[in-house]
């Protein structure tokens, strides 16, 4: 009896102590300004209309999404408190958080969800058009319930609801007038942890702490300033001097990153790109000889030394790729490494043998045939990559000359005129294979004039079928099996040489804690980030 009373008192005392300490701990984390280097300057703040790289780095702090995601690529509640998916996969019901207010004080309701997705993202967002293609309607039985009605199951849709990919907009602001020319396009209003204050063109965007944020006590930081600095050497210097505390996504030259990471004040991580997953590749034009021949394509796949490319051209920021789906999908089960392995030590011998078999023997001068290799016009690494490929091909008797054109001409050559033989390239896998992978392999993505789709011209009835099945398969296990078979077939046919998965370094101040906490990295909202005092 007495013991029980004592323990109860002790528990009460402990609870009181914890209550007393909790705000103190919070208070210790509060405060500070984070200067973030964003490169290049975003063209607009209208994240609901454009997916241009840098926009999301700023707007993801202002707009929340229905969901957030963990490093296991599983959804976490955000504006949606909970959700349920019907057994047939055609109905998704979201329970929305109550009492959430936009930065102008108006409440967030299911009407805003319906407006954002049906009226804006489904119609205008470059990826939203595809993501929400099968979404017929959103029903709003009450202010805190949104029911997604789908024509077919769309498991990938659950991966596209972050504040970066699908920002939730206030209908009373963006619903007025033409959404493509909204007065608030460059003065974004959302529910996020930071409020937009001003955009000084050519210099910075300032975001201030939202004191009424629905996550109590968050965010810790008082302010985020996104600075735009055109010169890469200056960006490095600004980081080195501590004038800025974080820079990612290619904002710093790779060779500077390795030097900065050794400084005692700075840290470096390659995490935070798991929902981007870029893969560097060589694309064949499979429509005409010599690359219409599977064996020739396999030979080239064998001839490329992945490790050499990663170490000597990309400064070690990469990981050999095995096929069309990035190993970042391993936690979801969709990825498999059980495919033809072209990354072998005796690759050159195998390649020579395959080319002999394919009917391209070495002539007297040691050359089998000549090709033109188009370089991706994205800068230095790509030029070195092309020079390396030229050398690697010369080892197997293929004489390649290099062609370097501006971006527009190159894109037209690859995706409109199909007037190429072999080109380097890189594409994002994004949050789900349906969003980022299918476009390169499905026969219905052979669309003249559309860029970054199926430019190789390769497809097969079985892989098309597998992608169609996986698109609507609600069972994760079956979906994984379908993707495993897909990967095996595509890698064997080798319409593309997947050289490596690109990793992007993010450099940040060691005083910053909890900064890269989601697979979206610097596209996250930084609500938990704080300075160690």
């Amino acid at each position: 009896m007495i013991a029980k009373a004592w323990s109860r008192m002790a528990a009460a005392a402990l609870a009181a102590l914890m209550l007393a300490l909790a705000p103190a701990a919070e208070a210790q984390k509060r405060g500070g300004t984070l200067v973030m280097i964003t490169q290049p300057e975003p063209p607009t703040m209208a994240a609901y209309l454009s997916t241009s790289g840098p926009i999301g780095q700023v707007t993801a702090k202002v707009f929340d999404g229905l969901l957030e995601y963990g490093f296991d690529l599983k959804p976490i509640p955000s504006l949606a408190e909970s959700w349920s998916i019907s057994p047939d996969g055609k109905t998704i019901t979201f329970k929305l958080r109550q009492g959430v207010k936009f930065h102008d004080g108006q409440p967030f309701t299911s009407a805003d969800v319906k407006f954002t997705i049906m009226e804006v993202l489904k119609k205008y967002h470059p990826r939203g058009i595809n993501t929400y293609r099968d979404l017929k309607d959103i029903e709003t039985p009450d202010a805190s319930t949104a029911v997604f009605k789908l024509a077919r199951p769309a498991p990938y849709l659950m991966m596209a609801l972050s504040g970066y990919e699908s920002p939730m907009l206030p209908q009373h602001i963006y619903g007025k007038g033409d959404i493509q020319h909204s007065d608030y396009a460059n003065k974004p209003i959302g529910t996020g942890p930071f409020k937009f204050v001003e955009w000084k063109r050519g210099e910075y965007v300032r975001l201030d702490r939202n004191p009424d944020y629905w996550k109590k006590g968050l965010p810790y930081l008082d302010r985020i300033v996104a600075r735009f600095i055109a010169d890469s050497a200056t960006r490095t210097a600004v980081m080195e001097k501590g004038e800025a505390q974080i820079a990612g996504f290619g904002a710093l030259p790779y060779n500077d990153v390795n030097r900065l990471a050794k400084l005692p004040t700075l840290a470096m991580t390659t995490k935070g790109y798991e929902m981007v997953s870029p893969i560097v590749e060589l694309d064949f034009n499979t429509r005409k000889p010599p690359f219409d021949n599977e064996k020739v394509r396999q030979a080239v796949s064998y001839a490329i030394d992945r490790k050499f490319i990663i170490d000597n051209i990309w400064f070690g920021f990469g990981k050999p790729a095995t096929g069309p789906i990035s190993s970042n999908f391993a936690p979801t089960g969709l990825y498999t490494a059980d495919v033809t392995n072209y990354n072998v030590p005796d690759g050159v011998e195998r390649a020579n043998k395959l080319l002999d078999e394919a009917g391209y023997p070495k002539k007297a001068d040691g050359i089998r045939f000549e090709i033109v290799h188009d370089l991706t016009p994205y800068g230095e690494e790509w030029q070195r990559f092309g020079e390396y490929v030229q050398q690697a091909l010369s080892k197997i008797g293929i004489k390649a000359s290099l062609r370097y054109e501006d971006v527009a001409t190159w894109l037209k050559r690859i995706y409109t005129d199909y007037d190429f033989q072999l080109t380097s390239n890189f594409l994002y896998n994004l949050a789900d294979p349906v969003i980022g992978v299918h476009r390169e392999y499905h026969s219905n993505s052979i669309k003249k004039g559309t860029v970054f789709v199926n430019g190789t011209g390769w497809s097969s009835p079985r892989t098309d079928e597998l992608m169609n099945l996986a698109t609507v398969e609600p069972d994760p296990k079956k979906r994984a099996e379908e993707y495993h078979e897909f990967q095996k077939l595509v890698v064997a046919a080798a319409p593309i040489v997947w050289t490596h998965e690109l990793t992007f370094p993010t450099v940040y101040s060691k005083r910053l804690k909890d900064i890269i906490t989601t697979p979206l990295g610097i596209y996250g909202n930084f609500d938990h980030a704080y300075y160690e005092k």
Binding site: P253, N255, N312, I313, E380, Q383, R384, G386, E387, D406
Partner: protein, 277 residues
């Protein structure tokens, strides 16, 4: 006799001789490249970033390519582009300047406005635009350099023609009934050759610099080794592997300096009046 005296006058300037000596060395280097470094200068021969004076005389670059092979093959590229682009610029500039200066009046007005139009465009930016439009290749580099280099030649030749066409020998030619073209090319042009040669020799140096700058920016022919390309490819490693930029940089410096010295020597030899001033 005249030739001997020209050489004597040139030899009188020590700097001109030094320049000529360096230039001859560069020429020998360029000519011997296929002998000493047969094969592709882009070939990956060893581990990347080997320092100079080790297994490879000048070390290797970021991909393990032999720097010495690059320098030797690059010498040929630089000299060839410098010479061809200069000849093209001289051809255009001399023709336009000659006609403008000889005929004067409306022809002069039209041709000089055209020349000024080209002169108002910053020449290097113009060269970048041209190469970008034509897509980088050896011929587009030469065309770009020639197109941005001819206006000064045109102005120079025009000036010479303006002053020469009032001389007695021209008037004598007119009296003799000589045709316009004959007068331009047989009478007046030979008399302003010395000025053209001096300016042209300096233009070679400028052309080499422009070619290097274009290649540095990644706008050179991707299949041809050049010094500018080597510097451009090595600049990111300036802190860690200095020789990637320093060696081709020194090569460009020496060559351009040598051509300038030779140009000045020629100037002294061909325009003896200048020295008496």
């Amino acid at each position: 006799m005249i030739r001997a005296s020209l050489w004597q006058r040139f030899a009188a300037s020590r700097s001109g001789l030094i320049g000529l000596a360096i230039l001859v060395l560069v020429l020998i280097l360029a000519a011997s490249a296929p002998v000493f470094f047969p094969g592709d200068p882009f070939a990956i021969v060893d581990k990347p970033f080997l320092p100079p004076f080790g297994t490879h005389l000048l070390g290797t670059d970021s991909l393990g390519r032999d720097m010495a092979a690059g320098i030797a093959h690059g010498a040929g590229t630089s000299l060839m582009i410098g010479l061809v682009a200069t000849l093209a610029a001289l051809f255009i500039g001399t023709l336009i300047g000659a006609f403008a200066g000889f005929y004067g009046g409306l022809v002069d007005n039209l041709l000089m406005r055209l020349t000024e139009l080209f002169q108002t465009i910053p020449s290097f930016i113009f060269a970048i635009v041209l190469v970008a439009i034509l897509s980088p290749s050896l011929s587009s580099t030469i065309i770009a350099i020639a197109v941005v280099s001819w206006p000064p030649i045109a102005r120079l030749v025009r000036g010479e023609f303006l002053s020469l066409r009032r001389r007695e020998f021209v008037e004598a030619a007119i009296v003799l009934g000589m045709g316009d073209l004959q007068m331009i090319f047989r009478q007046i042009l030979p008399n302003c050759l010395s000025a053209i040669i001096v300016t042209g020799s300096l233009l070679v140096a400028t052309a080499i610099l422009v070619e290097s700058a274009l290649a540095f920016l990644g706008l050179g022919d991707p299949n041809i080794m050049s010094w500018g390309f080597m510097i451009g490819a090595g600049r990111t490693y300036l802190r860690t592997a200095w020789w990637l930029c320093a060696i081709p940089g020194i090569a460009i410096l020496l060559t351009v300096l040598a051509i300038n010295l030779v140009g000045e020597g020629l100037n002294d030899a061909l325009n003896p009046r200048l020295r008496t001033l």
